[in-house]
C-alpha cells in the first residue's frame, strides 16, 4: 500500500484509536500489529510514550514490556457535552461535520452493491 508521510498528530490519534478499539491493554508489539500500517516498532514505542506523557494512556508492566491502555475519563462527560450541544438545535448539528448522515435509507441496497464491488478491488 502506497502511503504518504503522516503528521505525528495523526499517528497519535491512530494509535489511541487502536487502543480504544481493542479495549484491553496492549504491548507496543500488539499495537503495531493492530495498526496494520507498516509503522516501525520504534515509532509505535515513541508515540505510546508520548501519549503516556500527555496522560492519554496508562501503562503497566507486562513481562519485559509495558502494556498500554486508553484512559477512560469520567464516563459520559464527553457524551453529555456533545448531547448538550446537539440538543440546542439544528444549527449546532449543522456545524459538526458528520462522517455519514442518517438520511436516505432507500439507497441501502445500492450501497451494499458498491461495497461488494469495492471489496473485490481494494482492501
Amino acid at each position: 500500500m502506497v502511503k504518504g508521510r503522516r503528521p505525528s498528530g495523526a499517528l497519535e490519534t491512530e494509535v489511541l484509536a487502536a487502543l480504544w478499539a481493542s479495549g484491553e491493554p496492549m504491548t507496543p508489539a500488539q499495537v503495531q500489529e493492530s495498526l496494520d500500517s507498516g509503522l516501525a516498532y520504534t515509532t509505535v514505542m515513541t508515540i505510546l510514550s508520548r501519549l503516556h506523557d500527555k496522560g492519554a494512556v496508562t501503562r503497566e508492566r507486562s513481562g519485559r514490556a509495558y502494556a498500554y491502555a486508553a484512559v477512560l475519563d469520567q464516563p459520559g462527560i464527553a457524551a453529555a457535552q456533545m448531547r448538550a450541544l446537539l440538543d440546542r438545535g439544528e444549527d449546532r448539528a449543522a456545524v459538526l461535520a458528520r462522517f455519514v448522515d442518517g438520511l436516505s435509507g432507500a439507497d441501502e441496497r445500492a450501497l451494499v452493491d458498491l461495497v461488494r464491488r469495492a471489496d473485490t478491488r481494494g482492501d
Binding site: V2, A21, I77, L86, A97, D101, G102, G122
Partner: protein, 307 residues
Amino acid sequence: MRVDVYLPLVMSVLFGLLAPQLARRLPPARATWLLSIGSVILAASAAIALALLALTFLGQLPGIASFGHWTVGALRRHDPVHRSVALAALVAIPVLAALVVRATIRRTQAIVDAYRTCRRLPDQGTGLVVLSEPGITAYAVPGRPGRIVVSRELLTVLSPAQRRVVLAHEQAHLDRHHYRHVALVTVAAALNPALFRLPRAVVFATERWADEAAAAAIGNRAVAATALARTRLLSGSRVPSPGCAMAAAATHVTARVQALLAEPPRTRPVLTAIVIGIVVVAAFAVGDASWDAHQLFELAQNVSYSR
C-alpha cells in the same frame, strides 16, 4: 441599467440551478471554494441590484428628491425601472435583511457553542474524543483545537485501515475549516433565496473534499469507499444523535462512495471557467448598473440646476 441591474438575479438563479451538479463534477476542494466565494459575491451583487431598483422609486418621493436636489419629473422621465418592480424590491429588502441577520446570528451562536464545547471536552492532548455510549457515530467539532468525536463502537467494528479513513476524514474537516465555507454560504443563501440549494451543495463538496483527503492519506480510494459505506450501513436507519435534522446538510453517502470508486476527480477547466464567468458577469453587471444609476440621478440633478 435596463438589463444590467437584473443580471445578478439571473446569474444567481443560474448558479443555484447548477450548484448540485457543480458540487459533483468539480474537484471537491475547488468546488467548495468556487461555490462558497461565488455565493457570497452573487448574494452581495443581487442585494446591491435590489437596492438600486428600490432607489429609483425612493428617489421619486418629493421629500427625498428635494433632499438630494433633483427633480421628480426628470427622474421619472428617464427612469428605466417599472414602478411595480421598484416597489417589489423595496418590500423585499427589509425581509431579506431580517433573514440574513437571523441566519448570521444563528450560525455564529452555533460556532461559538461548538468552540465552547471543545473547551469543555476532556482534553488528553490528542484531539480525539471517544464516546463510550452505544451507537455508530463520527464527527468533527470545530474549536481551538477542534476535536474528532467517534463512538467506541465504530472504532471496534472497522478494520485498522478503515479506522484511519474515518480519522483522516474528520481531521481534514478540521484542518481545512470546512464549517466556515458552510457558514458563509448559509448566510449568502439567506440574503439571496435563489441560492437556496447552495448550502447543501457546499456541504456535499466539503464531504467529498474530506473523503479525497482521507483516501490520499491512506493511499487507497477503494478502502476509503468501503469505510464510508460500512459506517453508513452499520449506523443503519438509527438516528446517530439527537437534533440531527440536518435537512439542509443531507450528504449523499451513495454518491460519495461512487465518486471514490470512480476515477480520481478531473480538473474540469471549462466548467471552472463557466462558474467564474457567471460570478464575474454578475459583479460587473452590478457595477455597471450602479454607474448608470449614478448618472440617472446626476441627470435629474442637472435638470433641476438648469432651471
